[in-house]
């Protein structure tokens, strides 16, 4: 690659925050038509580097060359003018505006003459439609963004980048909110961008995606570039080793647990239009994986089971006894815990301390005279789970906000373990946490199963589902498409059921009959 041909070159980029050297002397370059994967654990500096490139942060030292010319990127707007667009994990779209208005935000086409005071809506929508078609989105430009599914919102973001004539598109974990088929669509779009000669920087936690889409991969660790290689020289083990700086022998740390008597039985769980007639049995010590595409109703099923949303029909039995679950309060009493998919919005009170978060479901169990909080007992319990789960926090008083993703996740788990549940539902337990913390969470899930808990694990990562589950419940369009044994499940069979290509009509019955045997 000649220096001339590069659309982007970053040299010796350094950036410090109070108390942390976030980046030291990082190099990165990008050729037209290239897809560069940027990988590394959380806190490795990926986001910081991309924020410097997109103008959100200013670098402390180093040079940035765009198309061979040295530039100083002063603001996100400035970056956009130079043809750099970033698509964040959480989209920057105005939900109450149309796709077209979002694509042309702040650059709306005007009418001519005196009409310049007014937006030319017709032209705006026609142009927007052109860009939407270009990325292959089946979205009408007039649709309000809030009415679009996540995957299509992302396409709107990409169309927006094309509309500003971006030459470099940064995607920060674009697949974390997508199901398997949507990921394929996204990759299709990326390939189109490639053909048009754009450079794409792709940040991800999922290594399999690196191998599916990237031409080259750059690995960051602790703010330093520790590796850079063409994709054909990389292997997953090599990348993981570079990322964590040590060898991870077994990414999915499942230890066999003794599977006991049926613990939880769900029959005919239904919420109109979302979840249809879902039945399954969970046994003591069992990890039941919930696989399926995004929107298949996995999270919704979990929320119905936990009483977070009202159900239209369905019976829930714990140890053979029918229980009524109308609210999370009932679920808590019945011994069900729920680790939701979005830690910061649903799992934690971020501005409260670790102690307060862990104590929240079980405050009533630590009182004297019925009302007076027993602070020492509260602290003792919280400390016990902080130690047990190896939550790295300077003190119990630390606000949850300041913990890393993995430690936040462990805090949510600790909160539920403190309630001593019999059933633990975990929705995407390792989403957005780094490889090391992931392994710890997996080990923890195994331990909990060994201790006799029944675990429902919802995950969009098939290797995780295959690696951790004893049985796999595959959902498709709100229904149970199949319940597979660990031995018979492969990525292909799961995908076949999830995408509706194969249907097992007896899925619900077979689950019941297995219990009776």
């Amino acid at each position: 690659m000649s220096e001339q041909g590069l659309i982007l070159r970053m040299e010796n980029i350094s950036k410090a925050f109070p108390g942390v050297q976030a980046l030291s002397n990082v190099d990165l370059d990008l050729a037209p038509g290239e897809v560069l994967a940027l990988v590394g654990e959380n806190g490795a500096g990926k986001s910081t580097l991309m924020k410097i490139l997109s103008g959100a942060y200013r670098k402390d030292a180093g040079r940035i060359l765009v198309n061979g010319r040295e530039v100083e990127i002063r603001s996100p707007y400035h970056a956009q003018q130079m043809g750099i667009a970033i698509i964040y994990q959480e989209f920057n779209l105005a939900p109450n505006q149309s796709a077209a208005a979002n694509i042309f935000i702040a650059r709306e086409p005007r009418r001519s003459g005196l009409g310049r005071l007014f937006v030319d809506r017709g032209r705006m929508e026609r142009e927007a439609q052109k860009y939407l078609d270009m990325v292959g989105a089946h979205v009408a430009a007039r649709t309000l963004v809030r009415d679009l599914p996540v995957a299509e919102q992302q396409m709107v973001e990409i169309a927006k980048a094309l509309a500003v004539d971006a030459r470099i598109i940064i995607m920060d974990e674009p697949t974390s909110a997508l199901g398997e088929d949507e990921v394929e669509t996204l990759f299709e779009i990326i390939r189109t961008l490639k053909e048009r000669g754009l450079g794409v920087i792709f940040i991800t936690h999922r290594l399999d995606e690196v191998f599916r889409i990237a031409d080259r991969v750059v690995v960051l660790r602790d703010g330093m570039r520790v590796g850079c290689m063409p994709i054909n020289e990389a292997t997953p083990d090599k990348l993981i080793q570079l990322m964590v700086g040590r060898e991870v022998k077994d990414l999915f740390h499942k230890e066999e647990a003794e599977i006991g008597a049926p613990l939880l039985e769900v029959r005919g769980l239904t919420r109109q239009g979302v979840v249809e007639n879902v039945s399954f049995t969970l046994r003591r010590g069992e990890i039941l994986g919930f696989a399926g595409l995004v929107g298949a109703g996995r999270t919704e099923t979990a929320r119905l089971l936990f009483g977070a949303d009202p159900k239209d029909a369905g019976e829930i039995y714990i140890e053979g006894k029918r229980i009524q679950i109308e609210s999370p309060i009932d679920a808590l009493k019945a011994g069900i815990g729920f680790v939701p998919e979005d830690r910061s919005k649903q799992g934690l009170v971020l501005r409260s301390s670790v102690l307060e978060n862990i104590a929240l479901p079980t405050l009533d169990r630590h009182t004297r005279l019925g009302a007076w909080l027993d602070h020492p007992s509260l602290r003792k319990t919280a400390q016990q789970y902080v130690d047990k789960l190896n939550i790295r926090t300077p003190s119990l008083e630390q606000k949850a906000l300041f913990l890393s993703g993995g430690n936040q996740q462990k805090t949510v788990v600790a909160k539920w373990l403190a309630s001593q549940p019999r059933v633990l539902i975990m929705d995407e337990p390792t989403r957005g946490i780094d490889v090391g913390a992931k392994a710890e969470v997996h080990a923890l899930i195994s331990q909990l199963a060994q201790a006799g808990l029944g675990i429902i694990m919802i995950s969009s990562e098939l290797p995780e589902i295959l690696g951790m589950s004893d049985r796999i419940l595959v959902m498709s369009e709100g229904r149970v498409a199949a319940i597979l044994d660990r031995a018979e499940a492969t990525q292909e069979t799961i995908m076949a059921y999830a995408s509706g290509e194969r249907v097992d009509n007896n899925a619900a019955d077979s689950a019941t009959s297995r219990t009776q045997r």
Binding site: P328, A331, V349, L360, P361, L373, P376
Partner: protein, 353 residues
């Protein structure tokens, strides 16, 4: 490593007190300033009693606001609630309701307090069960309560005879209760201020030492996470609205006693003063943060300033300008301290130097 749970508990207390330190220092400096300018008037028992009565009124209302603001809401009704509850308590004692003859002081007060709590509960039910924004439902009561108060009295105040035993509540002080002669500064502490201290202690205990208190902060910090943690979020919020209604009624009763009448014109814009006191005391309007001590210190700052400016003969127009400025400065300071934006200014200043 070897510290016991008890030591750690102490550290926690110390840290939470530290949060109000800024406000406390500001209050102390203010007192020093006014003492320096008018030593002969400012520390007179009679003047201190005036300040304490101010703090009692706005501190009580601010405690109610703090509870609601922690949960992410707001209560605009308290000023009108003062007028309404003051009028009905006077009405029950002096005229009686319809065919029912006038009733005794204690039952009249108790009934008024219950009505206050019920109106608060009413707000809470609208907010939680119907999803009506707190701003709107309490704005409704803001109009309704004052309108009812004026309608009941046809606009005229219900005046107590001087010497009516009810007046002790708002006008009496410690010396009167303990039958001391003189009693100096200590004897001049108004009964209403003592009631405030009692309420403050009670609400502080609820916030810091009961499951309910932890839940109030959790609901304010992240209502969805609290709900998914098995917290009965509706009940927690209704409790806060009910308490605010109760405290507004209590303040209304004390104010009626203080003024010797139940009048529909009392308490105009008091809700805004109460909110200002809460905010000066470090309560975040975003929810999840706030303390009783902060609310009282906030009320104290406003009380001392207001009194000090009167003592210094500053025109009442200018007083409002100064109080408004203090509110803005206090909140900007607090926001920057929290958000760490001082770093920005520090850098800016050093780059200028």
């Amino acid at each position: 490593m070897t510290e016991t749970a008890r030591d750690r508990g102490k550290r926690r207390v110390r840290r939470s007190q530290f949060r109000e330190l800024n406000v406390l220092v500001a209050l102390f400096l203010l007192c020093l300033f006014f003492y320096w300018r008018r030593p002969e008037i400012f520390v007179k028992p009679a003047n201190l009693a005036v300040i304490m009565r101010f703090i009692a009124t706005f501190g009580m209302l601010a405690i109610g606001e703090v509870l609601i603001i922690i949960t992410g809401g707001i209560d605009l009704s308290v000023g009108s609630m003062l007028a309404f509850t003051g009028v009905i308590t006077a009405w029950m004692m002096l005229k009686g309701v319809g065919p029912i003859p006038p009733i005794d002081i204690i039952p009249a007060i108790l009934i008024t307090l219950v009505i206050g709590a019920l109106i608060g509960t009413w707000h809470g039910l609208f907010v939680t069960k119907l999803g009506i924004p707190p701003f709107i439902i309490t704005l409704g009561t803001y109009l309704i309560a004052r309108g009812l108060a004026a309608n009941i009295t046809r606009g005229y105040p219900q005046v107590f005879d001087s010497g009516h035993p009810f007046l002790i509540l708002g006008q009496g002080d410690l010396a009167a209760v303990l039958n001391l002669k003189g009693g100096g500064a200590l004897g001049a502490i108004p009964i209403s201020f003592l009631i405030l201290l009692g309420i403050a202690a009670l609400v502080s205990i609820i916030l810091n030492h009961t499951p309910l208190g932890y839940r109030i902060y959790a609901v304010g910090g992240n209502i969805e996470a609290a709900r998914l943690s098995g917290v009965n979020v509706d009940r927690v919020r209704i409790f806060c609205y009910a308490t605010s209604g109760f405290l507004a009624a209590l303040t209304g009763v004390i104010l009626a006693s203080r003024l010797g009448q139940g009048t529909p014109v009392v308490g105009a814009a008091y809700e805004l003063w109460a909110i200002a006191a809460a905010v000066i005391g470090g309560t975040s309007l975003l929810g999840g943060e706030g303390t009783v001590l902060g609310a009282i210190l906030g009320a104290a700052i406003m009380g001392v300033m207001q009194n000090g400016m009167v003592v210094l003969n500053i025109s009442s127009y200018v007083q409002d300008v100064i109080l408004g400025t203090v509110l803005v400065v206090a909140v900007v300071y607090d926001t920057m301290r929290r958000g760490g934006r001082f770093d920005f200014w520090k850098k800016w200043f050093s780059s200028q130097a």
